[in-house]
């Protein structure tokens, strides 16, 4: 599904990623852990094509396509979705209009007609239930006045609407209470199909209790320095990163 080779990237002229290699196969869940500032968010932003980040070397192939040659929206419509660490507030754009534009853009990319208004609202209703998100939030501006938990639930709701094949959860657990964490994680698990792959960025094991990773990577100073099974996350939870740094 996703193949990253020797990826170097800078933001504001500063090199953050210093040669990342990572392969994620269909249906696999990869957890990405690492110290603050190691480059985890940079990696996800580079994958989705945030224009603030510049790739200086390396390649990313997504289902056979050269991802780095594609625009942000083309990558999204190819099936890549990122749940934002800090979802953006967009005053004046209602959730409904925003979602309609996104869903129809996706459909256009797949050569489908735009959804009829009634059908669209029906899909919205169904998907909202998954993450227990209130209808009244749909009439508000995107993320405006949403609580931290509502914002994260809204991210998973959007994922449900757009049905991506590759998801990046960028610290989706941060700022969530235990109940909200469960709802968000279960929402994600319900949406998963056998083909869906994901990269889960987190500092804590507790999210991985719900979303079980196949492979765990540790990113330090712009490079993946250790890769292991689910046990690795448990060990990091207990012992921190110092022992890994000591190995380097």
């Amino acid at each position: 599904m996703l193949e990253i080779k020797n990826l170097h990237a800078t933001v504001g002229g500063k090199e953050i990623l210093k040669g990342v290699n990572l392969t994620i196969k269909d249906g696999e869940i990869h957890a990405l852990m690492g110290t603050n500032g190691a480059g985890k968010s940079t990696l996800s932003n580079v994958i989705v094509g945030n224009p603030a980040y510049e790739v200086t070397e390396g390649s990313i192939i997504f289902n056979g396509q050269d991802l780095l040659a594609m625009k942000t929206e083309e990558r999204a419509n190819a099936g890549i979705f990122m749940s934002f660490q800090q979802p953006v507030e967009i005053p004046g754009v209602s959730m409904t209009n925003f979602m309609r534009a996104a869903v129809n853009a996706r459909r256009a990319a797949q050569g489908k007609e735009p959804l009829k208004s009634t059908d669209f609202l029906k899909v919205m209703r169904e998907k909202r239930k998954l993450v227990e998100i209130d209808q009244k939030l749909m009439n508000r501006s995107v993320n405006e006045g949403f609580s931290g938990g509502e914002k994260k639930r809204n991210e998973i709701f959007q994922m449900a609407m757009l049905e991506p094949t590759f998801c990046i959860l960028d610290e989706t657990d941060s700022g969530l209470d235990v109940d909200a964490l469960r709802i968000v994680a279960q929402g994600f698990n319900t949406l998963r199909t056998a083909e869906t792959s994901a990269m889960v960025i987190t500092h804590y094991q507790r999210l991985l209790d719900y979303i079980k990773p196949d492979i765990v990577h540790v990113l330090i100073d712009g490079k993946i320095v250790k890769t292991g099974g689910p046990d690795l996350a448990v060990k990091i939870e207990n012992e921190g990163f110092d022992w890994i740094k000591a190995e380097l």
Binding site: N50, E73, P87, E89, I90, G92, A105
Partner: protein, 425 residues
Amino acid sequence: MKSEQQYIELYSEAGTLIKQKSCEVMNAVRDAAFEVFKSQGFPSKKVERYKYTDVDAAFAPNYGISLNPYEIKPSKYIFRFSEAPIDITPYYNNVADKSDSISALNTALAHDGILIYVPKNDKPADPIQIDYTLRGSQDTMMNRRVLIILEQGAEATIILNDKITPQYDAIQDSSAHRGGEGQSPEGISFLTTQVIEAVCKDNSRLDIYEVEETYTLCKRFSNVYIQEGRDCSVKHNSITLFNGQSRNLCDVYMQGENSEVTLNGCVIADKNQRVDNNTLIHHQVPNCQSNELYKYVVDGQAVGAFAGKILVDKDAQKISSQETNANLCASSDARMYTQPMLEIYADDVKCAHGSTVGVMDESALFYMRQRGICEDEARTLLKNAFMGQVIDQIQLQPLRDKLYVKVEKRFRGELDKCADCRLCK
């Protein structure tokens, strides 16, 4: 030769003809207004209220003056000056700033006028609508004059549409611009001066909606003067959807206590369009409220300007006033000048003013694009959202709904008069 010379000559040549075509009330003040214009000429950019518009250049081309009478559909509330049901002499040219050169020129050249008169306690159920439609086979100057009188307790909603004739309006058929039958290949330019005077007597309510939807070769100089008595409520909404160059002045004189005024403005400009709004709210008496919100989206090489002054006289205590001007520069070539001003001589008032000039929110654009929305669409959504705040203020629902659609079409480029006409580029 400075531009005013040709208008001075025009008046000496055509003054008699204008008077013949006009009515007594207009002719009575005509010569005096002309003398004001002749002595002052056009205001230079050194004149504070005209610093953002090159008036001399705008009036420099030789336009033919139109002396055709207005085509007015008879209505219970709309009259030609010559058929006014009351003596309008005490009002005509007595609300307008006589020392303003543009107003003076308009007073000298306007040959016909429209009176909107609402008698005491009368509340027309439907909005009163006037459509100005620009048309002509050659470059034309028009001098429009409107007088609005609301007697005590009267209420009115007035819509003034500034449009161009449908032949210019056709999106697909650009022959009119390209030198169709009887047209010069350069397209036809229009220069409009407009003076609107409104007298709102005690306990009256007036909502005015001015919507400009012309095209790139139109220049508009509009001066609106509103006088409010006691217990009045006035809303003036100025909406510039499509234009060439517009300079809109709106002055409100608060002369009676317990009155309120709201000024809203919505400006969308791109290409080489110019929009300059200049407002004054003059609080002359205590216990009044004023609110002002102007928003601009400037794109392409457009230049926008907003200057708004709240003037509070020494004895006008207990005033509450809020002035906001928010602007979005959607391209790096677009320019916005903003100048909110408070001039307060009273010591017990609550006045606030603020202005912002910003660019597109990159993080919001990225967020939308990550959801698959293409960049153009994301920009349109953001611009629409920005302008929505002003359109939300419009009380008249059918107009509000229509404007939501028009604003969105405007941002999508669908209101451009000709899809691939160089004049609309």
